[in-house]
Amino acid sequence: MTDKRQTVGTARTQGQAAESARTQGQATGTARTQAARRAMYFRMITASFARRFSRMVVALLAIIVGATVLSGLVTIYYDMPRQMGMQFRSYGANMILVPSDSAQGGMTRADIDQALAQVSNDELVGVSTYHYENCTINASPLVVAGADLEATRATSPYWYVTGEWPDEPGEVLVGLVEADFFSLEVGDTVTITHTLVASDDGRSALEESSVDFVVSGLLDTGGSEEEYFFISNDDMARLTQAEPSYNIAELSIQADAERLEALSEAISQEVPNVTPQLVKRLTTSETTVLTKLQALVFLVTVVVLALTMICVATTMTAVVTERRREIGLRKALGASDKSIVLEFMGEGLLQGALGGLIGAGLGFGFAQLVSTNVFNSSITFRPLLIPITVLAALVVTGLACALPVRNATTVDPALVLKGE
Protein backbone atom coordinates (compact mmCIF):
# COMPACT_ATOMS: atom_id res chain seq x y z
CA MET A 1 0.00 0.00 0.00
CA THR A 2 1.26 3.47 -0.79
CA ASP A 3 0.80 6.28 1.64
CA LYS A 4 -1.32 8.98 0.16
CA ARG A 5 -2.46 10.34 3.47
CA GLN A 6 0.81 11.35 5.07
CA THR A 7 -0.57 14.80 5.87
CA VAL A 8 -3.34 13.27 7.92
CA GLY A 9 -0.92 11.49 10.17
CA THR A 10 -1.25 13.66 13.23
CA ALA A 11 -1.86 10.49 15.13
CA ARG A 12 0.57 7.63 14.99
CA THR A 13 -0.15 5.22 12.17
CA GLN A 14 -2.10 2.17 13.25
CA GLY A 15 0.53 -0.26 12.00
CA GLN A 16 3.18 1.49 14.01
CA ALA A 17 0.90 1.61 17.02
CA ALA A 18 0.20 -2.10 16.86
CA GLU A 19 3.85 -2.85 16.39
CA SER A 20 4.72 -0.47 19.17
CA ALA A 21 2.20 -2.08 21.51
CA ARG A 22 3.59 -5.52 20.79
CA THR A 23 7.20 -4.41 21.10
CA GLN A 24 6.39 -2.54 24.28
CA GLY A 25 4.67 -5.64 25.61
CA GLN A 26 7.81 -7.66 24.96
CA ALA A 27 10.11 -4.98 26.36
CA THR A 28 8.21 -4.10 29.53
CA GLY A 29 8.28 -7.60 30.68
CA THR A 30 6.86 -10.82 29.46
CA ALA A 31 5.83 -11.58 33.02
CA ARG A 32 3.33 -8.71 33.17
CA THR A 33 1.94 -9.62 29.78
CA GLN A 34 1.63 -13.25 30.74
CA ALA A 35 -0.07 -12.34 34.01
CA ALA A 36 -2.57 -10.08 32.22
CA ARG A 37 -3.24 -12.74 29.58
CA ARG A 38 -3.68 -15.42 32.23
CA ALA A 39 -6.09 -13.18 34.14
CA MET A 40 -8.11 -12.58 30.95
CA TYR A 41 -8.04 -16.30 30.15
CA PHE A 42 -9.51 -17.19 33.53
CA ARG A 43 -11.96 -14.32 33.25
CA MET A 44 -13.22 -15.72 29.94
CA ILE A 45 -13.54 -19.33 31.00
CA THR A 46 -15.10 -18.52 34.36
CA ALA A 47 -17.52 -16.09 32.68
CA SER A 48 -18.46 -18.79 30.19
CA PHE A 49 -18.97 -21.22 33.04
CA ALA A 50 -20.89 -18.88 35.32
CA ARG A 51 -23.01 -17.08 32.73
CA ARG A 52 -23.75 -20.14 30.62
CA PHE A 53 -24.31 -22.37 33.63
CA SER A 54 -27.61 -23.78 32.39
CA ARG A 55 -25.79 -25.06 29.28
CA MET A 56 -23.00 -26.55 31.35
CA VAL A 57 -25.16 -28.16 33.99
CA VAL A 58 -25.73 -31.46 32.16
CA ALA A 59 -22.02 -32.05 31.66
CA LEU A 60 -21.31 -30.91 35.21
CA LEU A 61 -23.93 -33.29 36.61
CA ALA A 62 -22.47 -36.13 34.56
CA ILE A 63 -19.03 -35.40 35.98
CA ILE A 64 -20.39 -35.12 39.52
CA VAL A 65 -22.20 -38.45 39.20
CA GLY A 66 -19.13 -40.08 37.68
CA ALA A 67 -16.81 -38.64 40.33
CA THR A 68 -19.23 -39.58 43.13
CA VAL A 69 -19.40 -43.18 41.97
CA LEU A 70 -15.65 -43.28 41.41
CA SER A 71 -14.83 -41.80 44.81
CA GLY A 72 -17.48 -43.87 46.57
CA LEU A 73 -16.60 -47.16 44.96
CA VAL A 74 -12.86 -46.67 45.32
CA THR A 75 -13.41 -45.90 49.01
CA ILE A 76 -15.46 -49.07 49.31
CA TYR A 77 -12.91 -50.97 47.19
CA TYR A 78 -10.08 -50.14 49.56
CA ASP A 79 -12.17 -50.46 52.70
CA MET A 80 -13.70 -53.73 51.59
CA PRO A 81 -10.93 -56.03 52.88
CA ARG A 82 -11.34 -54.49 56.34
CA GLN A 83 -15.13 -54.59 56.16
CA MET A 84 -15.21 -58.10 54.77
CA GLY A 85 -12.62 -59.18 57.31
CA MET A 86 -14.84 -57.89 60.08
CA GLN A 87 -17.83 -59.63 58.54
CA PHE A 88 -15.96 -62.88 58.23
CA ARG A 89 -14.66 -62.57 61.77
CA SER A 90 -18.31 -62.79 62.79
CA TYR A 91 -18.30 -66.33 61.42
CA GLY A 92 -15.82 -67.28 64.09
CA ALA A 93 -12.15 -68.00 64.42
CA ASN A 94 -9.97 -68.55 61.39
CA MET A 95 -7.03 -70.07 63.26
CA ILE A 96 -7.05 -72.66 66.01
CA LEU A 97 -4.20 -73.49 68.36
CA VAL A 98 -4.07 -76.97 69.81
CA PRO A 99 -1.43 -78.58 72.03
CA SER A 100 1.40 -80.21 70.11
CA ASP A 101 2.73 -83.64 70.96
CA SER A 102 5.31 -82.05 73.21
CA ALA A 103 2.70 -80.15 75.24
CA GLN A 104 1.66 -83.18 77.28
CA GLY A 105 -2.04 -82.67 76.88
CA GLY A 106 -2.45 -78.96 77.34
CA MET A 107 -1.11 -75.52 76.59
CA THR A 108 -0.11 -73.06 79.28
CA ARG A 109 -0.99 -69.39 79.19
CA ALA A 110 2.68 -68.71 78.39
CA ASP A 111 2.49 -70.99 75.35
CA ILE A 112 -0.54 -69.13 74.03
CA ASP A 113 0.97 -65.72 74.73
CA GLN A 114 4.10 -66.74 72.88
CA ALA A 115 2.00 -67.73 69.89
CA LEU A 116 0.01 -64.50 70.04
CA ALA A 117 3.25 -62.52 70.01
CA GLN A 118 3.58 -63.49 66.36
CA VAL A 119 0.32 -61.68 65.54
CA SER A 120 0.21 -57.87 65.56
CA ASN A 121 -2.37 -56.06 67.66
CA ASP A 122 -3.97 -54.61 64.53
CA GLU A 123 -4.57 -58.06 63.11
CA LEU A 124 -5.85 -59.79 66.22
CA VAL A 125 -9.61 -59.31 66.51
CA GLY A 126 -9.91 -61.69 69.44
CA VAL A 127 -8.71 -64.87 71.04
CA SER A 128 -10.66 -67.29 73.16
CA THR A 129 -9.11 -70.13 75.09
CA TYR A 130 -10.89 -73.26 76.25
CA HIS A 131 -10.03 -75.61 79.01
CA TYR A 132 -12.26 -78.68 78.91
CA GLU A 133 -12.89 -80.91 81.91
CA ASN A 134 -15.16 -83.90 82.43
CA CYS A 135 -17.53 -83.25 85.34
CA THR A 136 -20.82 -84.56 86.67
CA ILE A 137 -24.17 -83.28 87.84
CA ASN A 138 -25.83 -85.77 90.12
CA ALA A 139 -23.49 -88.42 88.70
CA SER A 140 -24.51 -87.64 85.11
CA PRO A 141 -21.43 -86.82 82.98
CA LEU A 142 -20.97 -83.58 81.16
CA VAL A 143 -18.16 -81.49 79.71
CA VAL A 144 -17.42 -78.11 81.24
CA ALA A 145 -15.42 -75.54 79.26
CA GLY A 146 -13.48 -72.87 81.12
CA ALA A 147 -13.13 -69.83 78.93
CA ASP A 148 -12.41 -66.13 78.87
CA LEU A 149 -16.06 -65.46 78.18
CA GLU A 150 -15.59 -61.84 77.11
CA ALA A 151 -13.08 -62.93 74.49
CA THR A 152 -15.38 -65.74 73.39
CA ARG A 153 -18.09 -63.17 72.87
CA ALA A 154 -15.75 -61.20 70.56
CA THR A 155 -14.64 -64.17 68.51
CA SER A 156 -18.05 -65.84 68.34
CA PRO A 157 -20.57 -63.09 67.72
CA TYR A 158 -22.88 -65.58 66.02
CA TRP A 159 -23.55 -67.37 69.35
CA TYR A 160 -27.13 -66.72 70.35
CA VAL A 161 -27.67 -66.52 74.08
CA THR A 162 -31.07 -66.61 75.77
CA GLY A 163 -30.66 -64.76 79.07
CA GLU A 164 -27.26 -63.25 79.81
CA TRP A 165 -23.63 -64.10 79.29
CA PRO A 166 -22.03 -64.98 82.65
CA ASP A 167 -20.33 -61.93 84.08
CA GLU A 168 -20.26 -62.80 87.77
CA PRO A 169 -18.37 -65.62 89.53
CA GLY A 170 -20.55 -68.71 89.89
CA GLU A 171 -22.55 -68.20 86.70
CA VAL A 172 -22.74 -70.71 83.89
CA LEU A 173 -23.78 -70.60 80.24
CA VAL A 174 -25.44 -73.89 79.30
CA GLY A 175 -25.62 -75.29 75.75
CA LEU A 176 -29.18 -76.02 74.62
CA VAL A 177 -28.60 -79.77 74.29
CA GLU A 178 -27.32 -79.99 77.84
CA ALA A 179 -30.03 -77.67 79.12
CA ASP A 180 -32.66 -80.00 77.66
CA PHE A 181 -30.91 -83.02 79.07
CA PHE A 182 -30.65 -81.60 82.55
CA SER A 183 -33.96 -79.67 82.29
CA LEU A 184 -32.27 -76.39 83.11
CA GLU A 185 -33.76 -72.92 82.73
CA VAL A 186 -32.23 -69.48 83.13
CA GLY A 187 -31.97 -68.69 86.84
CA ASP A 188 -31.73 -72.35 87.96
CA THR A 189 -28.95 -73.37 90.30
CA VAL A 190 -26.89 -76.43 89.54
CA THR A 191 -24.06 -78.17 91.39
CA ILE A 192 -21.18 -79.28 89.20
CA THR A 193 -18.78 -81.81 90.56
CA HIS A 194 -15.27 -82.43 89.39
CA THR A 195 -13.28 -85.47 90.38
CA LEU A 196 -9.75 -84.66 91.43
CA VAL A 197 -6.88 -87.07 91.31
CA ALA A 198 -4.81 -86.40 94.41
CA SER A 199 -1.49 -87.93 95.15
CA ASP A 200 -0.79 -88.79 98.74
CA ASP A 201 2.43 -90.52 99.76
CA GLY A 202 2.83 -92.03 96.32
CA ARG A 203 -0.71 -93.38 96.23
CA SER A 204 -3.39 -91.95 94.10
CA ALA A 205 -6.70 -91.05 95.64
CA LEU A 206 -9.89 -89.63 94.24
CA GLU A 207 -11.38 -86.50 95.70
CA GLU A 208 -14.37 -84.52 94.62
CA SER A 209 -14.80 -80.78 94.27
CA SER A 210 -18.28 -79.35 93.89
CA VAL A 211 -19.28 -75.78 93.06
CA ASP A 212 -22.77 -74.30 92.77
CA PHE A 213 -23.55 -72.36 89.63
CA VAL A 214 -26.49 -70.19 88.56
CA VAL A 215 -27.60 -70.63 84.95
CA SER A 216 -27.29 -67.10 83.48
CA GLY A 217 -28.05 -68.04 79.90
CA LEU A 218 -28.77 -70.80 77.41
CA LEU A 219 -26.52 -71.11 74.35
CA ASP A 220 -27.88 -71.71 70.86
CA THR A 221 -25.23 -72.07 68.13
CA GLY A 222 -26.52 -74.93 65.99
CA GLY A 223 -23.13 -76.57 66.59
CA SER A 224 -21.28 -78.75 69.05
CA GLU A 225 -21.01 -75.84 71.50
CA GLU A 226 -24.56 -76.66 72.61
CA GLU A 227 -23.18 -79.79 74.25
CA TYR A 228 -21.07 -77.91 76.78
CA PHE A 229 -21.33 -75.89 79.97
CA PHE A 230 -19.29 -72.66 79.79
CA ILE A 231 -17.83 -71.07 82.89
CA SER A 232 -15.14 -68.47 83.47
CA ASN A 233 -11.47 -69.42 83.83
CA ASP A 234 -11.55 -68.36 87.48
CA ASP A 235 -14.53 -70.62 88.18
CA MET A 236 -12.75 -73.45 86.35
CA ALA A 237 -9.67 -72.96 88.55
CA ARG A 238 -11.98 -73.04 91.59
CA LEU A 239 -13.61 -76.26 90.32
CA THR A 240 -10.41 -78.08 89.34
CA GLN A 241 -8.29 -76.51 92.07
CA ALA A 242 -5.43 -76.35 89.55
CA GLU A 243 -3.74 -74.02 87.07
CA PRO A 244 -5.62 -74.03 83.76
CA SER A 245 -4.29 -76.20 81.00
CA TYR A 246 -5.82 -75.13 77.70
CA ASN A 247 -7.02 -77.67 75.17
CA ILE A 248 -7.76 -75.21 72.43
CA ALA A 249 -7.36 -71.51 71.59
CA GLU A 250 -9.48 -69.94 68.86
CA LEU A 251 -7.95 -66.94 67.14
CA SER A 252 -9.84 -64.45 65.03
CA ILE A 253 -7.28 -62.68 62.87
CA GLN A 254 -7.93 -59.99 60.31
CA ALA A 255 -5.63 -61.06 57.50
CA ASP A 256 -5.82 -62.63 54.10
CA ALA A 257 -5.17 -66.29 53.39
CA GLU A 258 -1.52 -65.70 52.51
CA ARG A 259 -0.81 -63.81 55.72
CA LEU A 260 -2.60 -66.45 57.78
CA GLU A 261 -0.40 -69.14 56.21
CA ALA A 262 2.67 -67.08 57.12
CA LEU A 263 1.47 -66.62 60.71
CA SER A 264 0.74 -70.30 61.02
CA GLU A 265 4.21 -71.13 59.80
CA ALA A 266 5.79 -68.66 62.24
CA ILE A 267 3.85 -70.02 65.24
CA SER A 268 4.78 -73.61 64.33
CA GLN A 269 8.43 -72.70 64.30
CA GLU A 270 8.52 -70.37 67.29
CA VAL A 271 6.23 -72.15 69.77
CA PRO A 272 6.99 -75.86 70.09
CA ASN A 273 4.07 -76.66 72.43
CA VAL A 274 1.49 -75.27 70.04
CA THR A 275 0.20 -76.57 66.72
CA PRO A 276 -1.69 -73.95 64.70
CA GLN A 277 -4.46 -75.00 62.32
CA LEU A 278 -6.18 -72.74 59.82
CA VAL A 279 -9.92 -72.90 59.33
CA LYS A 280 -9.44 -73.32 55.59
CA ARG A 281 -13.11 -73.12 54.68
CA LEU A 282 -13.37 -69.64 56.13
CA THR A 283 -10.11 -68.14 54.86
CA THR A 284 -10.62 -69.45 51.32
CA SER A 285 -14.21 -68.19 51.18
CA GLU A 286 -13.13 -64.78 52.42
CA THR A 287 -10.47 -64.43 49.74
CA THR A 288 -12.82 -65.65 46.99
CA VAL A 289 -15.68 -63.37 47.98
CA LEU A 290 -13.34 -60.41 48.35
CA THR A 291 -11.74 -60.94 44.95
CA LYS A 292 -15.13 -61.23 43.26
CA LEU A 293 -16.56 -58.19 45.00
CA GLN A 294 -13.52 -56.06 44.20
CA ALA A 295 -13.68 -57.13 40.55
CA LEU A 296 -17.35 -56.16 40.49
CA VAL A 297 -16.67 -52.77 42.04
CA PHE A 298 -13.81 -52.18 39.58
CA LEU A 299 -16.04 -53.10 36.64
CA VAL A 300 -18.86 -50.82 37.77
CA THR A 301 -16.39 -47.96 38.25
CA VAL A 302 -14.97 -48.39 34.75
CA VAL A 303 -18.45 -48.55 33.21
CA VAL A 304 -19.61 -45.44 35.06
CA LEU A 305 -16.47 -43.53 34.04
CA ALA A 306 -17.00 -44.58 30.41
CA LEU A 307 -20.62 -43.39 30.57
CA THR A 308 -19.47 -40.13 32.13
CA MET A 309 -16.96 -39.66 29.34
CA ILE A 310 -19.62 -40.29 26.68
CA CYS A 311 -22.01 -37.84 28.34
CA VAL A 312 -19.36 -35.13 28.65
CA ALA A 313 -18.17 -35.71 25.08
CA THR A 314 -21.75 -35.44 23.80
CA THR A 315 -22.35 -32.26 25.75
CA MET A 316 -19.07 -30.73 24.62
CA THR A 317 -19.87 -31.63 21.00
CA ALA A 318 -23.20 -29.86 21.39
CA VAL A 319 -21.43 -26.90 23.02
CA VAL A 320 -18.91 -26.64 20.18
CA THR A 321 -21.69 -26.87 17.55
CA GLU A 322 -23.73 -24.27 19.38
CA ARG A 323 -20.72 -21.96 19.59
CA ARG A 324 -19.37 -22.33 16.06
CA ARG A 325 -20.13 -18.68 15.38
CA GLU A 326 -18.28 -17.62 18.52
CA ILE A 327 -15.33 -19.81 17.56
CA GLY A 328 -15.37 -18.29 14.06
CA LEU A 329 -15.47 -14.84 15.59
CA ARG A 330 -12.54 -15.58 17.87
CA LYS A 331 -10.56 -16.88 14.93
CA ALA A 332 -11.51 -13.83 12.89
CA LEU A 333 -10.18 -11.71 15.76
CA GLY A 334 -6.89 -13.54 15.50
CA ALA A 335 -7.22 -16.50 17.86
CA SER A 336 -4.82 -19.29 16.99
CA ASP A 337 -5.91 -22.93 17.02
CA LYS A 338 -3.93 -23.29 20.24
CA SER A 339 -5.92 -20.48 21.87
CA ILE A 340 -9.22 -22.07 20.85
CA VAL A 341 -8.08 -25.44 22.23
CA LEU A 342 -6.87 -23.86 25.48
CA GLU A 343 -10.11 -21.95 26.00
CA PHE A 344 -12.48 -24.83 25.37
CA MET A 345 -10.25 -27.30 27.16
CA GLY A 346 -10.02 -24.82 30.04
CA GLU A 347 -13.79 -24.66 30.29
CA GLY A 348 -13.99 -28.46 30.18
CA LEU A 349 -11.28 -28.89 32.78
CA LEU A 350 -12.87 -26.28 35.03
CA GLN A 351 -16.03 -28.36 34.95
CA GLY A 352 -13.94 -31.48 35.54
CA ALA A 353 -12.23 -29.97 38.58
CA LEU A 354 -15.47 -28.66 40.08
CA GLY A 355 -17.36 -31.87 39.34
CA GLY A 356 -14.47 -33.92 40.71
CA LEU A 357 -14.32 -31.90 43.92
CA ILE A 358 -18.08 -32.12 44.53
CA GLY A 359 -18.04 -35.78 43.53
CA ALA A 360 -15.21 -36.58 45.95
CA GLY A 361 -17.29 -35.22 48.83
CA LEU A 362 -20.51 -36.85 47.72
CA GLY A 363 -18.62 -40.08 47.04
CA PHE A 364 -17.55 -40.35 50.65
CA GLY A 365 -21.16 -39.85 51.71
CA PHE A 366 -22.22 -42.50 49.21
CA ALA A 367 -19.58 -44.92 50.50
CA GLN A 368 -20.60 -44.19 54.08
CA LEU A 369 -24.24 -44.90 53.20
CA VAL A 370 -23.36 -48.18 51.50
CA SER A 371 -21.06 -49.20 54.32
CA THR A 372 -23.63 -48.41 57.00
CA ASN A 373 -26.40 -50.26 55.20
CA VAL A 374 -24.42 -53.24 53.92
CA PHE A 375 -21.67 -53.73 56.50
CA ASN A 376 -23.22 -51.97 59.49
CA SER A 377 -20.07 -50.03 60.16
CA SER A 378 -18.70 -46.62 59.25
CA ILE A 379 -16.03 -46.19 56.63
CA THR A 380 -12.55 -44.72 56.94
CA PHE A 381 -12.11 -41.35 55.20
CA ARG A 382 -9.11 -41.31 52.88
CA PRO A 383 -8.01 -37.69 52.18
CA LEU A 384 -5.83 -38.88 49.28
CA LEU A 385 -9.01 -39.81 47.43
CA ILE A 386 -9.90 -36.12 46.94
CA PRO A 387 -6.94 -35.29 44.67
CA ILE A 388 -7.21 -38.71 43.01
CA THR A 389 -10.91 -38.18 42.22
CA VAL A 390 -10.28 -34.64 40.94
CA LEU A 391 -7.41 -35.91 38.81
CA ALA A 392 -9.52 -38.75 37.42
CA ALA A 393 -12.35 -36.31 36.66
CA LEU A 394 -9.86 -34.04 34.89
CA VAL A 395 -8.49 -36.92 32.82
CA VAL A 396 -11.97 -38.17 31.88
CA THR A 397 -13.14 -34.64 31.01
CA GLY A 398 -9.95 -33.93 29.09
CA LEU A 399 -10.34 -37.10 27.02
CA ALA A 400 -14.04 -36.41 26.48
CA CYS A 401 -13.30 -32.85 25.32
CA ALA A 402 -10.41 -33.77 23.04
CA LEU A 403 -12.38 -34.61 19.91
CA PRO A 404 -15.02 -31.85 20.13
CA VAL A 405 -12.31 -29.28 20.87
CA ARG A 406 -10.24 -30.51 17.95
CA ASN A 407 -13.32 -30.05 15.76
CA ALA A 408 -13.62 -26.51 17.08
CA THR A 409 -10.30 -25.61 15.47
CA THR A 410 -11.62 -26.53 12.03
CA VAL A 411 -14.30 -23.81 12.13
CA ASP A 412 -13.89 -21.41 9.21
CA PRO A 413 -13.84 -17.78 10.39
CA ALA A 414 -15.33 -16.70 7.06
CA LEU A 415 -18.58 -18.28 8.25
CA VAL A 416 -18.92 -15.43 10.70
CA LEU A 417 -18.69 -12.79 8.00
CA LYS A 418 -21.03 -14.71 5.75
CA GLY A 419 -23.49 -14.82 8.62
CA GLU A 420 -23.95 -18.58 8.31
Binding site: A11, M40, A414, G419
Partner: protein, 222 residues
Protein backbone atom coordinates in the same frame (compact mmCIF):
# COMPACT_ATOMS: atom_id res chain seq x y z
CA UNK B 1 -5.67 -7.28 -5.83
CA UNK B 2 -4.15 -8.40 -9.10
CA UNK B 3 -6.19 -10.61 -11.41
CA UNK B 4 -7.97 -12.14 -8.43
CA UNK B 5 -10.55 -14.84 -9.08
CA UNK B 6 -12.45 -16.95 -6.57
CA UNK B 7 -14.23 -19.91 -8.03
CA UNK B 8 -16.70 -22.17 -6.18
CA UNK B 9 -17.44 -25.08 -8.49
CA UNK B 10 -18.88 -23.42 -11.54
CA UNK B 11 -19.54 -20.12 -9.82
CA UNK B 12 -17.01 -17.34 -10.30
CA UNK B 13 -17.63 -15.32 -7.14
CA UNK B 14 -14.78 -12.98 -8.16
CA UNK B 15 -13.72 -12.83 -11.77
CA UNK B 16 -10.30 -11.44 -12.52
CA UNK B 17 -10.61 -8.45 -10.21
CA UNK B 18 -7.91 -5.80 -10.15
CA UNK B 19 -8.17 -3.36 -7.32
CA UNK B 20 -5.86 -1.11 -5.34
CA UNK B 21 -6.85 0.43 -2.01
CA UNK B 22 -4.53 3.08 -0.67
CA UNK B 23 -3.63 3.43 2.97
CA UNK B 24 -6.02 5.77 4.74
CA UNK B 25 -8.73 5.48 2.11
CA UNK B 26 -12.41 5.07 2.97
CA UNK B 27 -13.79 2.70 0.40
CA UNK B 28 -17.35 1.48 0.05
CA UNK B 29 -17.90 -1.78 -1.82
CA UNK B 30 -21.44 -1.89 -3.15
CA UNK B 31 -23.40 -4.18 -5.35
CA UNK B 32 -26.40 -6.48 -5.40
CA UNK B 33 -26.56 -9.75 -3.48
CA UNK B 34 -24.30 -12.39 -5.03
CA UNK B 35 -22.09 -9.78 -6.66
CA UNK B 36 -19.00 -10.98 -4.79
CA UNK B 37 -18.88 -8.30 -2.10
CA UNK B 38 -18.59 -10.72 0.80
CA UNK B 39 -16.05 -12.85 -1.06
CA UNK B 40 -13.92 -9.77 -1.69
CA UNK B 41 -14.32 -8.81 1.97
CA UNK B 42 -13.26 -12.28 3.14
CA UNK B 43 -10.19 -12.19 0.94
CA UNK B 44 -9.18 -8.67 1.99
CA UNK B 45 -9.85 -9.70 5.62
CA UNK B 46 -7.49 -12.72 5.28
CA UNK B 47 -10.31 -15.13 6.02
CA UNK B 48 -10.27 -16.68 2.58
CA UNK B 49 -7.77 -17.09 -0.22
CA UNK B 50 -8.33 -16.49 -3.91
CA UNK B 51 -8.36 -19.35 -6.40
CA UNK B 52 -5.92 -17.36 -8.52
CA UNK B 53 -4.26 -13.96 -8.55
CA UNK B 54 -2.27 -11.92 -6.03
CA UNK B 55 -3.50 -10.06 -2.98
CA UNK B 56 -0.81 -7.75 -1.70
CA UNK B 57 -1.09 -6.30 1.78
CA UNK B 58 1.85 -4.07 2.65
CA UNK B 59 3.65 -5.73 -0.25
CA UNK B 60 3.06 -9.25 1.11
CA UNK B 61 1.07 -11.66 -1.06
CA UNK B 62 -1.49 -13.06 1.34
CA UNK B 63 -2.70 -15.53 -1.31
CA UNK B 64 0.48 -17.50 -0.66
CA UNK B 65 0.28 -17.53 3.12
CA UNK B 66 -0.79 -20.41 5.32
CA UNK B 67 -3.62 -20.43 7.88
CA UNK B 68 -1.34 -19.43 10.72
CA UNK B 69 0.17 -16.46 8.90
CA UNK B 70 -3.28 -15.29 7.84
CA UNK B 71 -4.43 -15.48 11.46
CA UNK B 72 -1.45 -13.35 12.48
CA UNK B 73 -2.27 -10.74 9.84
CA UNK B 74 -5.93 -10.63 10.94
CA UNK B 75 -4.82 -10.23 14.51
CA UNK B 76 -2.21 -7.53 13.85
CA UNK B 77 -3.55 -5.46 10.98
CA UNK B 78 -7.30 -5.87 10.61
CA UNK B 79 -10.29 -4.77 12.64
CA UNK B 80 -13.63 -6.38 11.79
CA UNK B 81 -17.16 -5.01 12.15
CA UNK B 82 -20.15 -7.20 11.31
CA UNK B 83 -23.77 -6.59 10.44
CA UNK B 84 -24.80 -9.13 13.09
CA UNK B 85 -22.39 -7.56 15.64
CA UNK B 86 -21.10 -10.97 16.72
CA UNK B 87 -20.37 -10.14 20.32
CA UNK B 88 -19.67 -13.00 22.71
CA UNK B 89 -22.93 -13.36 24.58
CA UNK B 90 -21.55 -14.26 28.00
CA UNK B 91 -18.92 -11.51 28.12
CA UNK B 92 -19.66 -7.93 29.10
CA UNK B 93 -19.08 -5.06 26.68
CA UNK B 94 -15.66 -4.29 28.11
CA UNK B 95 -14.71 -7.99 28.13
CA UNK B 96 -15.72 -8.27 24.48
CA UNK B 97 -13.31 -5.45 23.68
CA UNK B 98 -10.62 -7.07 25.81
CA UNK B 99 -10.94 -10.34 23.86
CA UNK B 100 -9.48 -8.56 20.82
CA UNK B 101 -6.65 -7.25 23.01
CA UNK B 102 -6.12 -10.74 24.43
CA UNK B 103 -5.51 -12.26 21.01
CA UNK B 104 -3.45 -9.27 19.87
CA UNK B 105 -1.11 -8.52 22.75
CA UNK B 106 -1.98 -7.36 26.25
CA UNK B 107 -5.49 -7.23 27.75
CA UNK B 108 -5.83 -3.83 29.41
CA UNK B 109 -9.22 -3.05 30.95
CA UNK B 110 -8.49 0.69 31.28
CA UNK B 111 -7.66 0.94 27.60
CA UNK B 112 -10.75 -1.09 26.69
CA UNK B 113 -12.87 1.27 28.79
CA UNK B 114 -11.35 4.23 26.95
CA UNK B 115 -12.34 2.63 23.64
CA UNK B 116 -15.90 2.20 24.93
CA UNK B 117 -15.89 5.79 26.11
CA UNK B 118 -14.87 6.85 22.63
CA UNK B 119 -17.96 5.15 21.18
CA UNK B 120 -20.11 6.64 23.94
CA UNK B 121 -20.63 3.47 25.95
CA UNK B 122 -18.55 4.02 29.08
CA UNK B 123 -21.63 3.63 31.25
CA UNK B 124 -22.61 0.35 29.54
CA UNK B 125 -19.21 -1.33 29.94
CA UNK B 126 -20.38 -3.93 32.42
CA UNK B 127 -23.51 -4.85 30.49
CA UNK B 128 -23.91 -8.12 28.63
CA UNK B 129 -24.76 -7.89 24.90
CA UNK B 130 -28.32 -9.02 25.67
CA UNK B 131 -28.70 -5.91 27.84
CA UNK B 132 -27.64 -3.57 25.02
CA UNK B 133 -29.62 -2.22 22.08
CA UNK B 134 -28.57 -3.06 18.51
CA UNK B 135 -26.90 0.32 18.09
CA UNK B 136 -25.00 -0.11 21.35
CA UNK B 137 -23.88 -3.59 20.36
CA UNK B 138 -22.58 -2.27 17.05
CA UNK B 139 -20.68 0.46 18.88
CA UNK B 140 -19.09 -2.19 21.12
CA UNK B 141 -18.17 -3.97 17.88
CA UNK B 142 -16.55 -0.73 16.62
CA UNK B 143 -14.66 -0.31 19.90
CA UNK B 144 -13.43 -3.90 19.60
CA UNK B 145 -12.35 -3.30 16.00
CA UNK B 146 -10.34 -0.20 16.80
CA UNK B 147 -8.83 -1.26 20.14
CA UNK B 148 -5.66 -2.68 18.57
CA UNK B 149 -5.17 0.27 16.21
CA UNK B 150 -5.50 -1.85 13.07
CA UNK B 151 -4.25 -0.64 9.69
CA UNK B 152 -7.54 -1.60 8.05
CA UNK B 153 -11.06 -1.71 9.40
CA UNK B 154 -13.36 -3.98 7.42
CA UNK B 155 -17.05 -3.46 8.00
CA UNK B 156 -19.72 -5.73 6.55
CA UNK B 157 -23.09 -3.92 6.38
CA UNK B 158 -22.21 -2.11 9.62
CA UNK B 159 -25.47 -0.19 9.71
CA UNK B 160 -27.67 -2.94 8.25
CA UNK B 161 -29.43 -3.58 11.54
CA UNK B 162 -29.40 -0.06 12.94
CA UNK B 163 -31.94 2.74 13.09
CA UNK B 164 -31.13 6.14 11.67
CA UNK B 165 -29.82 7.60 14.89
CA UNK B 166 -27.42 4.74 15.51
CA UNK B 167 -26.43 4.71 11.84
CA UNK B 168 -25.40 8.34 12.23
CA UNK B 169 -23.38 7.56 15.37
CA UNK B 170 -21.53 4.73 13.62
CA UNK B 171 -20.83 6.83 10.53
CA UNK B 172 -19.52 9.62 12.74
CA UNK B 173 -17.14 7.12 14.33
CA UNK B 174 -16.00 6.04 10.86
CA UNK B 175 -15.36 9.68 9.98
CA UNK B 176 -13.21 10.07 13.08
CA UNK B 177 -11.24 6.92 12.26
CA UNK B 178 -10.83 8.07 8.67
CA UNK B 179 -9.59 11.46 9.79
CA UNK B 180 -6.98 9.68 11.92
CA UNK B 181 -5.68 7.83 8.88
CA UNK B 182 -7.34 4.44 9.31
CA UNK B 183 -8.11 2.57 6.10
CA UNK B 184 -11.82 1.76 6.00
CA UNK B 185 -13.38 -0.82 3.71
CA UNK B 186 -17.14 -0.91 4.09
CA UNK B 187 -19.40 -3.38 2.32
CA UNK B 188 -22.89 -1.94 2.13
CA UNK B 189 -26.21 -1.88 0.35
CA UNK B 190 -27.04 1.46 1.90
CA UNK B 191 -26.58 4.34 -0.54
CA UNK B 192 -26.18 6.85 2.30
CA UNK B 193 -23.41 4.78 3.90
CA UNK B 194 -21.81 4.37 0.50
CA UNK B 195 -22.00 8.09 -0.10
CA UNK B 196 -20.12 8.75 3.14
CA UNK B 197 -17.09 6.98 1.70
CA UNK B 198 -14.61 8.82 -0.45
CA UNK B 199 -14.54 6.03 -2.98
CA UNK B 200 -17.26 3.65 -4.15
CA UNK B 201 -16.49 0.39 -5.89
CA UNK B 202 -19.43 -1.45 -7.42
CA UNK B 203 -19.30 -5.17 -8.03
CA UNK B 204 -21.61 -7.17 -10.26
CA UNK B 205 -21.24 -10.82 -11.13
CA UNK B 206 -17.82 -10.89 -9.49
CA UNK B 207 -16.44 -8.03 -11.58
CA UNK B 208 -15.80 -4.39 -10.77
CA UNK B 209 -18.34 -2.50 -12.81
CA UNK B 210 -17.58 0.96 -11.49
CA UNK B 211 -14.95 2.62 -9.35
CA UNK B 212 -14.98 6.34 -8.84
CA UNK B 213 -11.24 6.19 -8.12
CA UNK B 214 -10.83 5.68 -11.86
CA UNK B 215 -11.83 9.23 -12.32
CA UNK B 216 -9.98 10.41 -9.21
CA UNK B 217 -6.74 8.48 -9.52
CA UNK B 218 -6.99 6.91 -12.99
CA UNK B 219 -6.51 3.32 -11.80
CA UNK B 220 -8.43 0.21 -10.77
CA UNK B 221 -10.53 -1.75 -13.15
CA UNK B 222 -12.41 -5.00 -13.36
Amino acid sequence: MKNVSKIYGELRALDNVNLTIEQGEWVAIMGPSGSGKSTAMNIIGCMDKPTSGEVLLDGQDIAKLGRRELTEIRRDKIGLIFQQFHLISYLTAVENVMVAQYYHSLPDEAEALEALERVGLADRAKHLPSQLSGGEQQRVCVARALINHPEIILADEPTGNLDEQNERIVLDLFRQLHSEGTTLVVVTHDAEVGASAERIITLEYGRVTSDNADTKFGKGNG
